[in-house]
């Protein structure tokens, strides 16, 4: 049985439909990534699953419990790392953890033991008496993750956990998240960072305009939507129509950004004489998750 299950989840804010019918099944112990541009509905989806946002239509289950019926029990199993820092500025690092542990009814002696172990794990033990405003951005993020682990959650939910972090901190966080996964913690991660998605996630769902538009392991997604090779090319404006017509005829997918054309080659597309067609080839490369992302969610800026 999946540890997280969503059935036709819909979220409406008045006229606006933020999530348009999402089905999801996440297995215990896996790291599942939600990948999508700003406003795709990732955060709203996660908020419904974690019982902090009412579900307009459909159902969500965590460990077999309906999140609408048993929100407290569901939330007791989850640790949430928000994107926006919401630590208590009036408390020290340690006190933040102790107060938070109390929300889960963890007895104070046990809370202290856990807090110290977790601070150690995130290399924050030396700062236990520091005020929040004395911490760097990276320390705050580590503390947020630390806080989410106090209830020893079965599921860790992370909203863009490394955005804005320096590379050292980012790698420390990734390493710790992998350790947690080895210990059996299910992870639900939203991200826009392709490297992060590739490094951490066992499976990914690409979310676009409130729907899941692709689902699979990173390798599967690349194989399915990235093709064999990406060619970056330019074409003179007088040859443009002819070239695009040729690509269309061969059923090749491409994207045009300014004067650059990105051609997603696949096996047997018969595209051999690109330069004779009038294409000025800038480069060829192996497709990445980023190409998949841009193909599925478009290259246009999303405001």
């Amino acid at each position: 049985m999946p540890i997280i299950e969503a059935k036709n989840l819909v979220k409406r804010y008045g006229e606006f439909v933020a999530v348009k019918g999402v089905d999801l099944a996440i297995e215990a112990g896996e790291c599942f990534g939600l990948l999508g541009p700003n406003g795709a509905g990732k955060t709203t989806l996660v908020r419904m699953i974690t019982a902090v946002s009412p579900i307009t239509e459909g159902q969500a289950f965590v460990a077999g419990m309906d999140v609408t019926r048993e929100p407290s029990k569901v939330k007791a199993l989850i640790g949430v790392v928000p994107q926006e820092e919401n630590l208590d500025p009036d408390f020290t690092v340690l006190k933040n953890l102790l107060v938070f542990a109390r929300y889960f009814d963890i007895p104070s002696k046990e809370a202290r033991r856990r807090a110290m172990a977790i601070l150690e794990f995130f290399e924050l033990a030396a700062r236990q008496r520091a005020k929040i405003k004395e911490l760097s951005g990276g320390m705050k993020r580590r503390l947020l993750i630390a806080r989410a682990l106090l209830n020893e959650p079965s599921i860790l939910v992370l909203d863009e956990p490394t955005v804005g972090l320096d590379p050292q901190t980012k790698h420390l966080v990734w390493e710790r998240l992998r350790t947690l996964k080895e210990r059996g913690t299910t992870q639900l991660l939203t991200t826009q960072n392709m490297e992060e998605a590739a490094v951490l996630a066992d499976r990914l769902a690409v979310v676009h305009e409130g729907r899941i538009v692709a689902l699979g392991t990173p390798a599967e997604l690349i194989a399915r939507h990235g093709g064999r090779e990406i060619i970056e090319a330019q074409v003179s404006s007088d040859r443009r129509e002819t070239v695009l017509a040729e690509l269309r005829k061969r059923g090749v997918y491409w994207q045009e950004v300014g004067r650059t054309i990105y051609i997603f080659r696949c096996d047997g597309d018969g595209l051999t004489q690109l330069s004779e067609m009038g294409l000025d080839i800038l480069g060829r490369r192996v497709p990445t998750l980023e190409d998949v992302f841009l193909r599925l969610t478009g290259r246009a800026l999303i405001e």
Binding site: T50, S53, S72, P82, N86, P89, V99, Y103
Partner: protein
Amino acid sequence: MMWLSPRALRVWQRNRDVFFALGKSEMPGLIIEPVLVLLSMGLGLGAYVGDIGGRDYMEFIAPGIIAAYGMFAATFECTYGSFVRLDYQKTFDAIISTPLGVGDIVTGEILWGATRALLTTTTVLAMAAAFGLVHSPMAILALPVGVLSGLMFASISLTFTAVAPGITTFNYFFTLFITPMFYFSGVFFPLSSFNETVRTLSWIAPLTPVARLMRAVVEGKLEWRLIGSMAEIIGVTLVFFSLAQLLMKKRLFR
């Protein structure tokens, strides 16, 4: 009922811990200001007023000031204090990701607001006693009256906080609601000194029954008709407690 879950206590404990962490900065509002008002009005204005109904002016206003500063304590806590937790610090967002719900937050905030009212009531009562303005042992009942009043003003305030778009909106709340009550609810003058219109408004103001009750217990003159004042406070509390629950849920759980 979910609203009265023991989890609300966790929110109360969090606020208490912050209060003790910040301790010293709370002192001015807690002691200094009410004493300043009591002395300046009592001695200054008192010299011209003489006495009211056979008691010294300072004795007349002392229970009113106890009532008013209890109101201020709960009100500040559940407007500016709660709003900072709601909007700036996102404390409530952090809390609803735990087993606690919005209902627990609202109840915990209101209980904490009432606790602040109790603390202020206690210190101002002690000050008044130190100045020799308290004669009846019944005055100890000022503390439960302070709690009731605190619950009411915390509920009213949190209702307003739940719909406040920004922190500057509280200027309206204080200028149009709290400050007028301070002057027109029988704290400084008997309601009978006002004309009919003002008196009608005073009767509606929720500080009026609190000032009346406070005066009665501090002077040790309990009467049956005070039950009406108590019922009024409890009624207003229930209405605004429910409103605060509904509106805060609408704001946070969306």
